[in-house]
């Protein structure tokens, strides 16, 4: 069954350096790194030590609270390091790929919900499933009221899933089928994906969702399809992670290959790259940057991604790797009164409204203003297409008022839902950090 949802609030922002629709493959060489921080709400315990040999699909670390929840190696090779930071916090486990790519094999006979759950846990793919409330790794003991999958992103420079799906159609189908055995699956797709995807999604409810960014956010879909209430749990995934599950169901092995967009104004030839998660950034960007200084490399897109460096590794969640100017070398005089024609603003005191929606901007990482108290009203609501008073929710979080956060709907949101509002905020508050703080506080106290 296909249902349609039209959203109005939000903002589509076009940035320079869109990835062209051509994919190359990055060979599995060098150091691959899996970082526990990519799996929010997960306290990791390493199960390998330096020098151990692992196959692709064998666990690197498990959850302290729930040992059957594992995160596995994307490559086969030798564990090169277990990297710890302050107070022995596990930062990453690095595996030196041997280039053979030997896979651990799993049985493909699972059909019931319990069997599939057990298989996903064993193969480390369960760790990719997130839950609302709290936007953390799902708890295998929960029975979710539904599983929500988003097949598109409207974020600037985001991966085009329709392109990434090429050749993986049967895996998406198999993945959805497996998830449908656990709970009702709802998939949000963009209008232009309808023809391509709807034949593959027979086992799920399909929602065609149109509207500006953040229309691709799974949280927005849930809010319009079946909002999360207190005491309820839903699981969320991105469509590419469903493909991982499909590969496991079909071939009995864990293949964490993503087709990521390498994009942004500082990338010479923005295009797609087929790579395993945890790949070294230096290999992904090799000879493809305009300059090495004063740039910001982002694991993910510029609105929700996290800053990384040439020495970093591709995040397990990232569907794109973007590089924009850092802007710390730019000096601008009297910016508050200048026309700033090349800059983008949602406010008509600048002139981006004159330049059409097609114009691509080259924005740097400067905040372009000091942090203030919330001054303008309704600013966040314009960019959050959910039935939530965003400004009031943020204030409730800032004052650590747990009851009010709950009443205002914090269970329904994730930090990423506030990304567009954070971009447009004239008071320059760090909304995503604030929301994450609120969610963590509520999880600890509640």
């Amino acid at each position: 069954m296909i249902r349609r949802i039209k959203l109005k609030k939000g903002l589509d922002l076009r940035l320079q350096g869109q990835a062209s629709l051509a994919a190359s493959t990055l060979p599995a060489e060098g150091i691959y790194s899996v970082m526990p921080d990519d799996f929010n709400g997960f306290s990791p315990r390493p199960v390998v030590k330096e020098g151990d040999s692992v196959k692709a699909g064998e666990p690197l670390f498990v959850s302290k609270d729930c040992p059957e929840l594992k995160v596995v190696s994307p490559v086969s090779g030798k564990v090169e390091g277990v990297v710890r930071g302050e107070r022995r916090k596990l930062l990453s486990i690095n595996v030196e790929a041997d280039g053979q790519q030997e896979h651990k094999t799993f049985s493909t006979t699972a059909t019931t919900a319990d069997q599939i759950k057990a298989l996903l846990l064993e193969a480390g793919l369960f760790a990719f499933i997130r839950q609302r409330p709290f936007d953390i790794v799902a708890n295998p003991q929960d029975t979710p009221k539904g599983i929500f999958v988003t097949a598109f992103s409207k974020m600037p420079l985001a991966q085009d899933f329709s392109f990434a799906l090429k050749g993986e159609e049967e895996h998406l189908q198999a993945g959805i089928k497996a998830l449908a055995a656990i709970a009702k699956v709802s998939v949000g797709i963009a209008p232009e994906q309808e023809e391509l995807l709807s034949p593959l999604l027979a086992d799920a409810d399909v929602y065609v969702i149109s509207g500006p960014n953040p229309a691709g956010n799974v949280g927005v879909h849930i809010n319009h399809i079946d909002p999360v209430n207190k005491g309820e749990v839903v699981w969320t995934l991105s469509a590419e992670e469903v493909v991982f599950i499909g590969r496991l169901m079909k071939h009995g092995k864990v293949d964490l290959t993503r087709t990521i967009a390498v994009a942004g104004a500082e990338v010479k030839q923005p295009a797609y790259v087929k790579t395993l998660i945890g790949a070294p950034i230096s290999a992904l960007l090799k000879d493809n940057l305009h300059r090495e200084e004063h740039i910001r490399i982002i694991n993910g897109n510029p609105l929700v991604g996290t800053k990384t460096s040439m020495d970093g590794h591709l995040s397990a969640r990232a569907t794109e790797l973007t590089v924009i100017p850092e802007g710390d070398d730019r000096d601008e005089i009297l910016g508050w009164i200048m026309p700033r024609l090349s800059d983008f603003s949602t406010n008509r005191s600048y002139f981006s409204w004159l330049q059409g929606r097609k114009k691509e901007y080259n924005l740097d990482a400067r905040i372009k203003g000091g942090e203030r108290h919330m001054i303008m009203s309704g600013e966040y609501d314009r960019y959050l297409p959910m039935d939530i008073y965003a400004g009031y929710l943020i204030k409730a979080i800032l004052t650590a008022d747990l009851d009010r956060m709950e009443a205002l709907g914090i269970y329904e949101v994730a930090p990423e839902d506030f990304a567009v509002a954070e971009f447009a905020d004239s008071s320059k508050l760090e909304l995503q950090r604030i929301v994450r703080q609120g969610l963590d506080l509520l999880r600890k106290e509640g």
Partner: protein, 385 residues
């Protein structure tokens, strides 16, 4: 450009912690961020940001106030020359008004910004831009004959007690400029209202001439109170009438309103509702025979337009929910006309109406937010049954 940056880089150590001039750190940072866009980059969350910031917003409001201010200057001269029976050119009258108003603007900024600098220094925060707007509005909503020292006292009171003790720009409950005006209105009412305060009486630097102390001139609204309307609608709209400096010209205020609405800095919902509320109430009173003024005359006279455009729409003190803005604006319009018509003591009601509704804005918002909350609770109950 490099020169400016180098100058600041060179001066920075002296103003930092442990430097010779560390007690002026907030002033230094204020000027630096005024001249140079900070190249601080984002540390968490979104890596890119919109070019809009509160400096830009506040400067847009200041620009929107310019037509009203410039016309106000001209009108000060015009009223003086009329009263003195002098012939003067446009530039001469404007120059007179400029000289009469400039000291007020300077004093207003010196006192208000001075307090802001001290507070920012004390709290180790950046200077907040809110006062840029307040500092220009205050001289514009006072009669020209209000003494400088009174204004300075009122501003100090308003900035400290209506803003800083609540936590600064963005946290205040009442509109700061209106608190300053209300302070003067109730403490020194003889200098704020009556027939004696609306026309500048001294000769300034050879321009104009001294008027006798006995000279008086009422505003059209006060005349209505005593029964006769002599001002033509044309004068009410153009604004060559006695009144507070910036409030007289509908045309000049409309220019500012266009800029504020176009940039989205003022909410059209609030602004429109104020006019609708005031218009309907005034029409009812006129129909009932209580007020001799037509509804459009009520809207054109006194501080109605200025209040509706520049003060009711203050995003901090007005209602913050979209639905709430309609109610908030509507009630301001209604109350302003109610006070004007039914209270013979106060010919003008806009100030009290806005301050009163500032007080009620959180309550209006509470109702809208609570509706969302109870809707969510109901949904949760229905699902968990």
């Amino acid at each position: 450009m490099n020169f400016i940056k180098k100058t600041f880089d060179k001066a920075r150590p002296a103003f930092s912690e442990g430097g010779r001039l560390k007690s002026l750190r907030s002033v230094f940072e204020g000027f630096e961020s005024f001249l140079l866009v900070s190249n601080a980059t984002s540390r968490s969350g979104a890596s890119i940001h919109d070019a809009i910031d509160s400096k830009r917003i506040m400067s847009m409001v200041v620009i929107a106030l310019m037509p009203a201010m410039l016309f106000g200057m001209y009108n000060i001269g015009y009223q003086h020359y009329m009263a003195a029976g002098l012939q003067g050119g446009l530039m001469e009258m404007f120059a007179y008004g400029l000289l009469a108003l400039l000291p007020k603007i300077v004093v207003s900024y010196v006192v208000g910004l001075g307090i802001e600098f001290v507070v920012a220094q004390y709290k180790h925060e950046e200077i907040q831009e809110g006062y840029l707007v307040t500092g220009l509005i205050v001289p514009l909503i006072l009669p020209i004959n209000c003494p400088l020292w009174m204004m300075a006292v009122a501003i100090a009171f308003a900035v400290i007690f209506a803003k800083e003790i609540f936590g600064g720009t963005g946290m205040n409950i009442f509109n700061v400029a209106l608190v300053a005006r209300a302070f003067l209105f109730f403490s020194y009412s003889s200098k704020m209202t009556g027939d004696d305060v609306w026309v500048a009486k001294e000769s300034i630097m050879g321009l104009g001439k001294d008027l006798p102390d006995t000279f008086t001139c009422a505003t059209p609204l006060a005349e209505v109170g005593s029964g006769d309307v002599t001002t033509s609608l044309n004068d009410m709209i153009v604004g060559l009438i006695p009144g507070s400096v910036g409030e007289t010209s509908v045309v000049a205020i409309a220019l500012g309103a266009v800029l504020l609405l176009w940039t989205g800095i003022a909410s059209w919902k609030t602004m429109l509702s104020v006019f609708v509320g005031g218009g309907i109430t005034a029409a009812l009173f006129h129909a009932a025979g209580t007020s001799p003024l037509e509804w459009y005359e009520h809207l054109a006279l006194g501080g109605f337009c200025f209040g509706a455009v520049f003060m009711a729409t203050d995003p901090v003190t007005s209602a913050r929910t979209e639905g709430g803005k309609y109610i908030y604006g509507l009630l301001i319009g209604v109350i302003a006309v109610l006070v004007r018509v039914l209270n013979p003591g106060y010919p003008e009601g806009m100030m009290l109406a806005i301050l009163f509704m500032n007080l009620f804005a959180p309550l209006i918002d509470y109702c809208f937010v609570q509706r969302n909350i109870s809707h969510r609770m109901k949904r949760a109950k229905a699902n968990n049954r």
